[in-house]
């Protein structure tokens, strides 16, 4: 019996990373800006996305969304009311979306034959609403260009400190439900400071899906990111 050490040096999520890299190339070639929205359950990702899809469509932009949940197609139905093509991904217990799920759900997009880039052609923005979870989605690259971490005024200003892995991996941060910031005793300065402590210099949008505050700035950011 001899003992041998075999070096592997292999990424455990290599398969996902490779699929995500493939998707990223595909999105890039098709000229579609892809965003991955991540937050706790109840932050208001869907409400934020509803208004985003509506406003972008009102400006003539071609938008679509994929929405992840463990069960139900409730969110897809809400989002589809904007008129944008929307697909629901049910993970049936899995706590995050992965690149394979995204790839599968892109097939045949817009009724065009599956699997090729033609199915994405003409699309300008694709939003992926992740499963409500601030832990696991941080490990799974979906091929997005921009990862957005959302946080509502009801969640506590220290959320970024509690979930640094996710907030540090984000490219933009969105604070939701600003319309109820005051009655919630939301300490805006502290929240901004905490986000910056975890992800220095990140763009932060203070929004309300109810009043529309902050949406103009967000839409401008999206347009710039596509350019």
């Amino acid at each position: 019996m001899t003992t041998r050490i075999v070096e592997l040096r292999r990424g455990i999520l290599k398969k996902n990373d490779e699929l995500a890299a493939g998707l990223r190339r595909r999105f890039g070639d098709a000229g579609v800006l892809v965003l991955n929205l991540v937050s706790s359950p109840g932050t208001g990702k869907t409400a934020f996305l509803e208004i985003t899809l509506r406003e972008l469509r009102a400006r003539g932009a071609k938008v679509a969304a994929l929405v992840g949940d463990l069960e139900t197609d409730n969110d897809a139905r809400r989002l589809a009311a904007s008129g944008a093509p929307v697909r629901q991904i049910n993970t049936h217990g899995i706590c995050h979306l992965d690149a394979e799920m995204i790839g599968k759900h892109l097939a045949g997009w817009d009724g065009v034959t599956s699997g090729d880039d033609a199915s994405l052609a003409g699309l300008e923005y694709l939003f992926i609403e992740n499963v409500g979870n601030l832990v696991c989605p941080s490990s799974y690259d979906l091929g997005e260009k921009i990862r957005v971490a959302l946080l509502s005024v009801t969640e506590g200003e220290d959320k970024p400190l509690k979930y640094p892995t996710l907030f540090n991996s984000a490219d933009a941060a969105v604070i939701t439900k600003m319309d109820i910031a005051e009655p919630c005793g939301f300490d805006r300065e502290l929240a901004l400071r905490n986000i910056n402590e975890i992800r220095p210099g990140i763009r932060i949008f203070e929004t309300s899906a109810k009043t529309g505050v902050g949406m103009q700035e967000w839409l401008e950011y999206l347009a710039e990111a596509r350019a």
Binding site: T2, T3, R4, I12, V135
Partner: protein, 120 residues
Amino acid sequence: MHELSIVASIVDAVTETAAAYPGARVKEVRLRVGALASVVEDSLQFCWEITVEGTPLEGSKLVVNTLPVVAHCETCGKDGELESLQSFRCPHCGEPVNDLRQGRELEIESIEIDEVEEAV
């Protein structure tokens, strides 16, 4: 929370590698896990025992080497280990840091196997 699927991926990869050494027994699997990788060692260990049962990895030990976050500071030009995940600041000069050089790893580093001597 997704440690079970992580462990399943490790078991698949190691089984594949070990197949090149017929009859060998896997004694140890060594991982490199960054502090920002979002996986918890206790949870990995717990899932390990359940997952390896009945596989060629049964009885093997999982060794997790946790790596601190290392950032490069654009202000002072030095690399440094972050003192905590509560503040992404250079440990040398205190300026905010965004250029991470280590801390997101989630890798199988190596495996240790006992090879069976070839029967003549």
